[in-house]
């Protein structure tokens, strides 16, 4: 009994801790942003109105609450700039995630089929880029992709092109940057599922008359779906809100929502609209997350 009590308290704390964390670092800031998104811009410090002042008394608070409005959200819907930015963000994220899956799957598959001792080496090779600052790596890409950069030099030397190709400030450059940066996030969960898959399953499929491509489509791929789901989410969600890569590598004619948000916040000093844009982005991203969770739950119920 007494030993149970000793263990009960830390256990209870351990159960609550993640919620406390979420409250403190997610829900509270979220409440601030939500409140700002319902305010109006003002030339003041802070640059929005109304400001809640709990010391000013009940009546003042009531007035402040009455001053909140959803005008910023109306603006987001009515102004093409924002709608386009969302559509572009989603398009870029879908395309880039598809590319990542196409490139990452064979790499992860190859890694999982390496001899045990080589798998660790391959793993280090995947992770090694993280040892250099992300920004430096993107600047390196600018170097590679510029007019007389490495890529053009190679293409010219191989006589694949007769003129240097314009890479910088194009979508191609942006996709190269995104795929490069996010590849480990696609490979690692895929590798994890593929590596723990029983090799006998593929052998059994072959034994039962399935040629290699059928073994892949009927057994390997369906069984790796949890890894595919995790990799897709890990890439898709941050890519939607990506700011640095499109800002440095893509042209400025079509902005992603992250760039739009940055513009509103820092250039236009319009905190309320920026906050509203952030809230909408969050809601947009919640949809695939919830879908994924429902799917996993269903799999779990079916599987066990």
């Amino acid at each position: 009994m007494s030993s149970r009590r000793i263990f009960a308290r830390p256990a209870r704390f351990a159960a609550i801790a993640p919620y406390l964390w979420m409250m403190l670092f997610f829900l509270v800031p979220f409440a601030f942003v939500l409140k700002i998104s319902l305010s109006q811009t003002a030339i003041a410090q802070p640059p929005y109105d109304p400001v809640f002042d709990l010391t000013a008394g009940w009546e003042a608070l009531k007035t402040a609450l009455a001053a909140l409005s959803i005008d910023n959200f109306r603006l987001l819907i009515s102004d093409d700039i924002y709608v386009f930015a969302y559509v572009r963000s989603l398009t870029v994220a879908v395309t880039a995630t598809a590319l990542l899956l196409l490139i990452g799957y064979p790499i992860a598959y190859g890694m999982a089929r390496l001899p045990r001792s080589w798998q660790a080496v391959a793993m280090v090779l995947v992770i090694v880029p993280f040892w250099t600052s992300f920004l430096i790596r993107i600047y390196a890409w600018i170097n590679i992709l510029q007019h007389d950069g490495l890529l053009n030099q190679i293409l010219l030397a191989l006589h694949l092109v007769s003129q240097p190709v314009v890479w910088l400030s194009t979508d191609s450059a942006m996709y190269i940057g995104i795929v490069y940066s996010y590849l480990p996030f696609m490979i690692l969960p895929l590798y994890a599922t593929l590596a723990k898959m029983e090799p006998a399953l593929e052998e059994a499929a072959g034994d039962l008359g399935a040629p290699p491509w059928q073994v892949f489509w009927l057994v390997t791929f369906p069984l790796s779906l949890p890894g595919v789901g995790a990799g897709v989410l890990l890439c898709f969600i941050p890519i939607v809100g990506e700011f640095v890569i499109p800002d440095l590598l893509a042209g400025s004619n079509a902005l992603m929502i992250g760039q739009t948000l940055w513009l509103e916040f820092f250039t236009n000093k319009d905190w309320p609209v920026a906050s509203a844009a952030a809230i909408v982005l969050l809601v947009v991203l919640l949809v695939p997350l919830l879908l994924y969770e429902r799917l996993q739950k269903r799999q779990l119920e079916q599987g066990r």
Binding site: E198, A200, L201, E203, A204, A205, G206, D207, L208, G209, A210, P211, Q214, L218, V219, P222, L223, Q302, G303, R304
Partner: protein, 387 residues
């Protein structure tokens, strides 16, 4: 329905092979190395159609590698594998009329019982209606009715084993390979499943090749056993022959318990051999079937062939039978229920184990530790081994 299983593939393949006077499966000088390790080292073996053949050996002896070469998961470095006269050594797994039941069953976790069994049939391009019929047939055969829609995770170990068996048999292979098929089951279930496997094999007439490290399992089920050691076939024999006439000390010790006394050839007297052993004095044995040199020899006796009595033989006939009588004292007693194993410390220096059936419920006949006894056995009970 299950009684009338058509013996299409298995039976015709077998018939063709039998008609040609050939074994169904012929393994010729097959070898396979992994790096510098020679896993299978020149194995030749014929298996007839309809046989229940067991490859028996300790782990690492190459039995699984040999089986995997039959399935096509490994290609032999040397040698030929003829199935019904055709060399399949380099054929890919999906091109062979051979199916395998995997050690951990390797059931597809994302497919139902029905889809697992139908997997091979779909790959063979069978018509939908025929697949349904065949699946129902297989489900009935392994008594899994009502579980067709379950996923492997929702089945017990025994049920999973049956699904694996049904899936491997569904295509009616000429040859069914079983890799430690009962290893994952508990003892009781294993025994009943052994009986079912044998019954199934008899009914279907399919040739079974099973890999096991469990000598009792091999003895119970197989019609013939190939004992493997360090990549080579040490002996191929019927279970009884393997047990009663092992070809080497290693085989004798691997298959069951045995007392072994090392010694030297002394003289030959008609059909008898006299061997002077170091630990059990002079022993008289029957002349072995295969001639042995007049050098160092070992005498092996199974514990259940060693009889115990309180005093030596009195009559002339008794003396003749108990020509090998060893005086000693009971050193250790191991009660096993059906039998009791006595360890007897011999006056000559060695120890001998005697396994005695507990035929009476009350232990009026039982010996106690430190009691003086005579351990005896006939010349025919001795196996002479070249050391």
């Amino acid at each position: 329905m299950t009684d009338e299983l058509p013996k299409t593939n298995a039976a015709t393949g077998a018939a063709d092979a039998a008609a040609a006077g050939q074994p169904l499966l012929r393994i010729e000088g097959v070898a396979k190395s992994f790096g510098t390790f020679r896993a299978v080292d020149g194995v030749s073996l014929d298996i007839k159609a309809g046989e229940f053949f067991a490859l028996l050996g300790p782990s690492g002896c190459g039995k699984t590698t040999l089986l995997r070469m039959l399935a096509g998961f490994e290609a032999p470095d040397e040698g030929r594998i003829l199935l019904g006269g055709e060399d399949i050594a380099q054929a890919l797994p999906h091109e062979r009329p051979v199916n395998m039941m995997f050690q951990n069953y390797a059931l597809f976790p994302h497919l139902s019982v029905r889809d697992n069994i139908a997997f091979g049939l779909k790959r063979a391009g069978m018509a939908r209606a025929d697949i349904a019929t065949r699946v129902a047939e297989m489900v009935a055969l392994v008594k899994l009715e009502g579980l067709e829609k379950r996923k492997p995770d929702q089945l017990s170990g025994g049920q999973r084993q049956r699904v694996a068996l049904a899936r491997a048999l569904a295509r009616r292979p000429q040859l069914l390979l079983l890799d430690e098929p009962l290893a994952a089951l508990d003892k009781k279930l294993r025994e009943s499943t052994q009986a079912e496997l044998m019954e199934l094999q008899r009914r279907l007439g399919t040739t079974f090749v099973i890999v096991t490290h469990d000598q009792e399992e091999a003895m119970t089920m197989a019609s013939r056993i190939g004992v493997m050691k360090a990549g080579k076939l040490a002996q191929v024999a019927r279970p009884r022959e393997l047990y009663e006439a092992p070809r080497s000390r290693w085989i004798a010790e691997f298959v069951g318990d045995v007392n072994v006394f090392e010694g030297e050839f002394k003289l030959r007297d008609g059909h008898r051999l006299v061997i002077a052993t170091r630990d059990a004095g002079t022993l008289v044995t029957a002349e072995p079937r295969e001639p042995v040199g007049e050098t160092k020899l070992s005498v092996a006796i199974r514990p259940e062939k060693v009889k115990l009595s309180r005093r030596g033989p009195v009559s002339e006939a008794g003396r003749e039978m108990a020509i090998n009588s060893l005086d000693g004292v009971i050193a250790d007693i191991c009660y096993l229920g059906g039998t009791t194993t006595y360890k007897v410390k011999l006056d000559a220096g060695g120890t001998v184990q005697a396994s005695v059936v507990n035929s009476a419920r009350l232990d009026v006949d039982a010996y106690s530790v430190n009691q003086n006894v005579v351990a005896w056995f006939t010349p025919d009970d001795c196996v002479v081994l070249q050391s």
